[in-house]
Amino acid sequence: MALVNIALNGTDVQVESGMTILDAARANGISIPTLCHDEQLEPFASCWVCAVKLEGMKRYVPSCGTKVAEGMKVWTDTEDVRAVRRMALELLLSNHRGDCVAPCQEACPASVDVQGYIALIAQGRYRDATKLVKQVNPFPLSIGRVCTRPCEGECRRNAVDGPVCIDFLKRFAADWDITNPNPYSPPVAPPTGHKVAAVGAGPASLTAAYYLAQAGHDVTIFEALPDGGGMLRYGIPEYRLPKKTLGEEIGLITGLGVKVEYGKRLGCDFTLKDLFDQGYEAVFLGLGAMASRKMRCPGEDLEGVWAGTDFLGRMGLNDPPPVGKHVAIIGGGNTAIDAARTSLRLGAEKVTIVYRRSRKEMPAWDVEVDAAEEEGVEMHFLAAPTKIEGDGKCERLEFIRMELGEPDESGRRRPVPIEGSESVIEVDNVIAAIGQLPNLDCIQQTAEKDPDSLEAKLELTHWGTIIADEKSGLTSVPLVFAGGDVVNGAATAIEAIAAGGRAAAAIDRVFHGEAVDGVPSYFNIQEERWDSFPVEELEDVVRKERQEMPELPVAERITSLDEVELGLTEEQALEEVKRCLECGCAEGFTCQLREYAAEYDVTLGRLGGDVVSDPPDRRHPFIRIEPEKCIMCGRCIRICSDVQGASALGFFRRGFVAQMKPALCQPLAMTDCESCGQCVEACPTAALTARPVAVKPGPWDLESTISTCGFCGTGCTVDLCTAAGDLVSIAPAPGEGINEGNLCVRGRFGFRGALSDRITAPRVNGAEATWDEALDAATATLQGGAVFGSPRLTNEEAYTLAAVASAVGGEVGSFGLAGEGVVFSALERVLGHASSTATYEDVRGADTVFVIDSDIAEEQTVAAISIRKAAQRGASVVVIADRETRLASLADVWIPATRDQVGSVLAAMVNHGLEDGVDASALPYGVTGLPELTASITGLTVDAVASKLGMPERDLRRAAELVLGADRLVTLASAPAFAPETACGDAHLAVSLAALAGGAVGEGRGVLFLRTRANGQGLSDLGFEPAGGVCGPTCCEGSGDLWAAIESGGVTAALIVGEDPVGGARDPERVAAALRKLTHLVVMDAVETATTALAHVVLPMEPPSAAEGSYTNSEHRVQTVAAAGGGRPNLETLADLAGRVGATVPATAPEIYGALSASRGTLGMPGLPDGSVWSVPGRAEGRPLNGDAALEPPGCAGGELVFDPRWTDAIEAAFSRMVEEQGLKDHVVRRVGVSA
């Protein structure tokens, strides 16, 4: 490749000519954003987010589509380039509607993933819900009781019938978890050696300590009071948050190794310098705001007059103040209400709240005010105390009437006294609850004493709060952080928790040498608030009232300090979760638009205007379209047509209203959509998303596990995406694997077949049993039994299963291999090895691809993509197919032949070659038996076949010429391409034709027979016999047919793993009858099937996504299978079975792999393999093909096919049924198996 010299941002570099600027920049470590560009597609250049500047050009150019040229000077990151990109993003966002994050989460100071935990609660996973909350908030028990619930204030459901009980649900999950014998506790990282001190044991410090401890840091909290919790303990009354509950919650925090030293007060007992001297490297100040504001009226110092915080604080200290008969509370906040309700509980006969504004202005929570009124608290509004009188102790309160004047800066109308309106009430106590502020005397005293002290350097506001950075909590003193009320003034617990979390993260960053405020910035678009949200969009929401919190009856309440709110019942919680409207974006964590918007610091609303509005389209069973999120990059449209060849999507209309739409504006399911999900993957936003599998969608921050697809034999690389340990989606790994980032409907959505009818517990004779009981029962009478395994078992699982068979003296077989064996034996007989000789890469590089189309385009989509790529490169494509499949329509020659006619067509092509004088003896390997072959197909000449089958002779001849004349020929077929009765001979002819054409083996050429199952090749290699195949015991297979043995009664026990022979039977009654004759039937499967229904012992199995080990694909490539989620590993179950029958097998997948490699030459690779093609005959080892084998004449009489192999797989069958029920177009549910 020629090189050209260009300058990238002023640096001279050499890059390959023909590269785009984008690729050249990336190759030189310069990243350029793009939304419309896709590696798999030709440049489209529409989004302009990749714009760059070329020196000497007035206009910008899209770097994705502009090729480098000698001498080009490119600027990728100048301010004007950034301005273009920023405006492109602003324009795109101006026509992009949705919530990046749900309003509830956005409203939460700690950004608790509300929808996440609601989703988990909906699934009954209360512990996981608590775990999710505790990722940012260690106080769900407390916050679930006392939070001010900004989330609920923003809940969009307010516009319908009231907010979701978000906080009650959090409490529900946390209550459930804490009553569990083993409440959730996060893992703690190994000690880092870093020491942190926190001052004050309130929610801010405890939160900081919780996360610092998890990170492995050594945290000590210094607390002045005798117990922890801060205002949660000393400000919130028992009846709202029981001390026991708070104590349990704090216990879970200190349980992580956090030390608390009580009775230690900063300023009195130690200074900041002392802490640093003691080796603490950072200090967090969570000092709270526990001092009460003064009323500034005469009599404030009389006995019986208390500050609200002192009053409640004494409750926390278990030292109840002696209240009299009549208590007056001054103030309208929550503290006032708490003091009032507490006074009642302490025996006051009359409690009066005196508040200077009206009820409307009360800052206290409405529900709390209501509860106080219910309990009999009286309220004097528009009244302010003027003096307190009494003889040494409080006896009378004088107050003055107020009226509301002009609004002040808080927006509330300012109360103004009405002259001469004073009145007096008799009271025994006055509790002043008119506001709180930090008590920083300790700091100030130290500062005054020593002007050089750290305390003196701590900058305060004139309200007496500490100044701290918003992102990190860092104060004016290095390594001293602060958060919570001491910074915010008296605010909420959740804000303190949020601040503690931020400070912990900042301190952790400092320990890692990172910038203290290096918080990634997030970008959010947000829909209108619920009170201005377009009502018509909520019209379809079914009204459903909010669940009511069960409460203690009023009479019981005021006589005790018992908790008033009893918590939602499970039933209520499960009803309440249904009310969630699922706001927020499914791609919130992966959206490229959002990422770039943050990176380029866009201004929202600057260019705002009309939005092309169009409601979400949920008619497709797997794919959701949200047109208002589409940015018209066209990636979905192009991937669908150019890569998948389906053209199910297109552009619609012009101008601003142009849109991406399913073809002809039909529902997507009614188009040529193959449900491959390529469009979902291509979409840079959430205009196209996979519909969620869970009851609630998340959005999830997914964990990713790279593995190999468990469906067909292609062996696509997949990304198993899990959330909270559950598989929620499967995606291709971008650009990775044989599939190069593509995937088909089964690979992507097929796992949903395992979502219902799951077998969750072992059964013995129909009754649930423990694992031990079931395993014992399973192996008790298995001696001499037959063992069957699915071709979707890993090599390691299959190996262990084979060991079981061997130990009980039985044989191993597979129903899923039925019918496939004979096809592969053709390869063995002609080429010496029962495996394919070509790779997918060979397909892409072939000059002629010969496809005996067994629905490859539909069944093995990714293989079809390789063929399409070859055709796009200019390869000739010859297709035999009974109808005009996609491959047929792109073929140079399409021979329309039914499966019954395939043999004749192949024979005609062979004859054409022989007539043309192909010299078989000159082939690189000896093809003997040519006379026999010739003799067997005499008469099947091109003209004879053409006339017999009524097809154009010209086409047939051209097909033969293309195939026989090819330089790099790859032949593709799979078992379903051939009629069962003649499959043996037909496959033989196909391989012979390839051999005659010189295209059976060699560099860049070969025969690729596609396995219909992920590990069909592996099972064959491990000696699993096709059971119930077409040739029977006497022909190709050359060994006894296990199924015949069962039917004849020769075998009386069987172990079937992952297969449903009854469901897959062509005559289910016959198969069921045979199985019923067994005295002992053990079935292990993931879902209930017709076969498990007959089993004596049923063992649960994990689906392939949870399997570990390796698969051998159609190319004979061994690839790693990694487990994502799942319960008891299959390998463990199988090993337990093996152990019970006396077989010794290694326990782990890598060990088994090692054993396999040692015992069988065929898996001759050390260690766990990773995508190496092994033992392609004649290639890997350079050995010749089986030159001794005669090219035997075809003509097996044909046997009986008992099973439709595809349906023996229950998960796949369930998925296909699901697809069918969803009404997808017939192309997704294909003619299956080898049944006609």
Partner: protein, 595 residues
């Protein structure tokens, strides 16, 4: 008995413009009259002769060749023309608009025109290949295929200085050379007849008036670049042009000017017509090619240019109608004769479509470099009486607005570009003092916004946002900073769009801001439309001094906003008034005022 009279032939202009004005009926009326009266005079049809403002137009030609032109002829007037002039030999003087040897006012329309492209339009019968051959048609093609090499053709074109008349002005000789040199056996030539600018009708008139000239130019191009096939991409809204093209192709094939072995040589050339569905963007060459291929008409990034990778991925030459129509003339008359017209860098002539607030609107062809003043005032007769010329929009919706003070700018590529406008395809929309420049910018942007293919972010969304800003300005809701935002958006749209549509869509806005910023400011700051055109910003009142209480306005008012007793001063209820202008038009006493 046949009367021959004093006339050799009668010619009726039957282009779309004429037919729209009733020319087909006039033609039939002549036919009927001739039949009824047994007049044996040849009745011919021809294309548009340019005076669209005078349609229907009828030429009466004497045997001696003297030509008398009637304008605005109605069916009722035909009998008198036949009786008095065709038969009687005495022209009906009061209906004549032009006559050889007479000084009629419309003569000025032609004084400064040089008709090379329109050489046959309005003269020959476009449906007759014989008439085309009679005036020298296909001589150039014959010359090229029998005696010239492709290089010689290209040299001739380069020497002529001909530049693409579609808008961009790329030198045609160089373009053909690129396609000729591009490797590949299979090549194509395309005629871009997807004329879509509002107010532009040059290509339509040429195709309707002289289809063979374009076909001949195309065949010469095919020979030169080595193409075997050609396409006319004509918008389907031009049925008459398509019909005449079909006839032309059919006849030319019969005569061996296109088809296999043209004029007995090895050169074969097949021509197709592709009807476009009316997407403006399909005038962009890559979108046009996509459309012919059956794809959505969406431009793609260039390079590769169509000359290298065009239709079906093969080298393709694409020029517009007018460019091709120039070619036979250049070959026949020589490059030097062509280059004698025009300026140093803009050679030859350019056809303009004069429209808008102008006395004589129509199709004019002038040498490049003539001033705007000469075109508008001398040829077009200026704006309607009583009004003052304010500006002219040049180059269609993608062009720019040139204000009165630049009237002495020459109409050539370089001079117009300096003003911020472009020659474009040749639309000239004249505006007078009643035109609001903000509103006119809104009008053009509305068009381009609708016609954006929707591909590029800036064009799809950016033009919409600009349009929204203009809409709010004209409705009196403009904000501080709107002008700057329009400029920022406009500049970025121009610099960050794939095709000419986006790259030029903001031009009308940017040029009106440049020249008429005060109007924008008046709308935004004073909520006032100086041209008294934006409805949201004007009020209708009745001048009590002038109103005599005739009640006419009240009767005309469709919303009953005007009240008043007979013979008393009327008043307008501003709440109800929809500013439809009906009252002002109805008032004979100029009592309705707009402010």
């Amino acid at each position: 008995m046949a009367k021959t009279g004093a006339t050799a032939e009668v010619t009726v202009g039957l282009s779309s413009c004429g037919i729209a004005a009733g020319a087909a009926d006039v033609f039939s009326a002549f036919q009927r009259q001739f039949e009824e009266k047994g007049v044996d005079v040849r009745l011919r049809r021809t294309g548009c002769i340019g005076m669209c403002y005078r349609e229907p137009i009828v030429d009466v030609t004497t045997p001696g060749g003297a030509k008398y032109t009637y304008g605005g002829l109605t069916v009722d007037q035909v009998e008198r023309v036949v009786d008095e002039h065709v038969v009687g030999g005495k022209p009906v003087d009061e209906w004549l608009v032009r006559a050889d040897g007479r000084e009629l006012p419309d003569e000025a329309y032609y004084d400064q025109q040089v008709r090379l492209v329109l050489r046959n339009a309005g003269i020959i019968d476009p449906e007759s290949i014989d008439e085309y051959i009679e005036v020298g048609g296909y001589e150039a093609l014959t010359k090229v295929v029998t005696s010239m090499t492709p290089d010689e053709v290209i040299d001739e074109l380069k020497a002529s200085g001909l530049r693409g008349r579609g808008g961009a002005g790329f030198p045609t000789g160089i373009k053909w050379d690129l396609a000729r040199k591009a490797p590949g056996e299979q090549k194509y030539v395309i005629v871009n007849a997807d004329e879509g600018d509002p107010g532009a009708f040059m290509d339509r008139s040429i195709l309707e008036g002289d289809p063979h000239a374009v076909l001949e130019g195309l065949a010469i191009a095919a020979f030169t670049v080595g193409a075997q096939e050609g396409y006319f991409y004509v918008r389907a809204e031009y049925p008459l042009a398509i019909k005449r093209l079909r006839i032309a192709i059919e006849n030319a094939t019969e005569r061996g000017f296109v088809g296999d072995n043209i004029l007995g040589t090895d050169f074969s050339f097949k021509v197709h017509i592709k009807e476009g569905a009316g997407a403006f963007v399909c005038g962009e060459e890559t979108a046009l090619i996509a459309s012919i291929e059956g794809q959505r008409g969406m431009p793609r990034l260039r390079p590769p240019y169509p000359a290298v990778k065009g239709l079906w991925g093969k080298p393709t030459n694409n020029n517009n109608v007018e460019t091709y129509a120039n070619v036979p003339w250049i070959i026949s008359h020589g490059a030097a004769a062509y280059a004698a017209y025009g300026t140093e860098t803009s050679k030859g002539t350019k056809v303009f479509a004069l429209a808008g607030k102008i006395q004589r609107g129509g199709l004019v062809e002038v040498p490049m470099g003539l001033t705007i003043r000469e075109v508008i005032n001398d040829i077009g007769g200026g704006v309607p009486e009583g009004r003052t010329f304010k500006a002219v929009q040049l180059g269609g919706p993608s062009g720019g607005c040139v204000p009165a003070e630049y009237m002495d700018t020459g109409v050539d590529y370089e001079s117009l570009t300096k003003t911020g406008a472009i020659v474009g395809s040749g639309g000239m929309i004249v505006m007078d003092d009643t035109t609001c420049m903000v509103d006119i910018a809104r009008f053009f942007l509305n068009f381009t916004q609708d016609e954006s293919c929707g591909k590029c972010t800036f064009c799809r969304v950016g033009t919409k946002r600009m349009l929204e800003i203009l809409e709010r300005i004209t409705s009196g809701e403009g904000r501080d900073g709107d002008i700057e935002l329009l400029q920022e958006l406009g500049e970025k749209i121009i610099s960050s769009s794939l095709c000419g549509l986006g790259q030029s869509a903001p031009n009308p806005v940017l040029t009106t801001i440049k020249y008429f910023r005060d109007e924008y400011e008046a709308h935004i700051n004073e909520k006032r439309c100086p041209a008294l055109s934006c409805k949201a910003l004007i009020t209708y009142d009745i001048d009590p001094d002038k109103c005599i209480g005739c009640t006419v306005c009240a009767k005309k008012c469709p919303v009953e906003a005007i009240t008043g007793e007979r013979k008393e001063v009327h008043t307008i209820d501003q709440e109800l008034c929809t500013k439809c202008d009906a009252c002002r038009q109805a008032c004979k006493f100029d009592a309705v005022t707009v402010s």
